[in-house]
């Protein structure tokens, strides 16, 4: 069965410092991978996604993620964190399916706090 693990429940980073949020997935075929961000009381905003091709994916707000098949990982990075990046971050995996409509499986999320 598909699963997503986000090992870090809560991370605190100083403003201006670099960030890496970890995501490991379990899936037999080629996964579709996503990172979403959720600010308090808000919906889920897509940061970036990986379907195929270049394993380094650029997203919005200066985020990037790298797909490493050998490690079953899709870690999210940002070189310099801003206070507005404080939020909950979710990694998700979907099926490599010709037809859409299949479920996304989410990790439990990582809460990012930014200190000044």
């Amino acid at each position: 069965a598909q699963s997503v693990t986000q090992p870090d429940i809560h991370i605190t980073v100083s403003e201006g410092a670099s960030l890496e949020l970890r995501c490991n997935y379990s899936y037999g075929a080629t996964p579709y991978l996503f990172w979403y961000v959720q600010s308090p009381g808000q919906g889920l905003q897509l940061l970036l996604k990986y379907f195929s091709g270049d394993t380094l994916v650029q997203g919005i707000k200066g985020f990037e993620a790298e797909f490493k098949r050998s490690q079953s990982s899709f870690n999210l990075r940002k070189p310099s964190v801003h206070w507005s990046d404080a939020a909950e971050y979710f990694c998700a995996v979907g099926e490599d399916s010709v037809q859409a409509g299949t479920a996304l499986i989410f990790g439990k999320g990582t809460t990012l706090s930014v200190s000044s």
Binding site: G43, L44, Q45, A100, G101, A103, F106, G109
Partner: protein, 112 residues
């Protein structure tokens, strides 16, 4: 940029009452979904809908839940007899060919 719109943003209902959560997916999308997030927990898939029928559902989506596309634009989730444990944020999403998912901002359901 096209959005998925959900109404209401917050709904309070008494236990045992029926609630209908409403969503307007992106107009050219073909697949529609409902997800649930209990406070402090991860986002969980409930159901997907395509071509006017359920294409996939989770074990959470039991007989008290139903979905409907009553017209060309709306997509609804009905909970027949709400329980306290149904209190959660409910997210609607839609996707088109190319497998891009867009989520709405959610409806916070509080059952008292």
């Amino acid at each position: 940029e096209p959005e998925v719109t959900q109404t209401p943003s917050h709904q309070v209902t008494q236990m045992g009452q029926e609630v209908i959560l409403r969503c307007v997916p992106i107009s050219n999308h073909l697949y529609f979904y409902w997800y649930r997030q209990i406070l402090g927990q991860k986002v969980e898939f409930l159901v997907s809908f395509y071509n006017n029928e359920i294409s996939e559902k989770s074990e959470i989506f039991d007989d008290q839940f139903s979905v409907e596309r009553p017209d060309g634009s709306n997509f609804t989730l009905k909970i027949r007899s709400t329980k306290l444990e149904d209190s959660a944020m409910y997210f609607c999403a839609s996707s088109g060919r190319g497998y891009g998912y867009t989520f709405g901002s959610g409806t916070r359901l509080t059952v008292v």
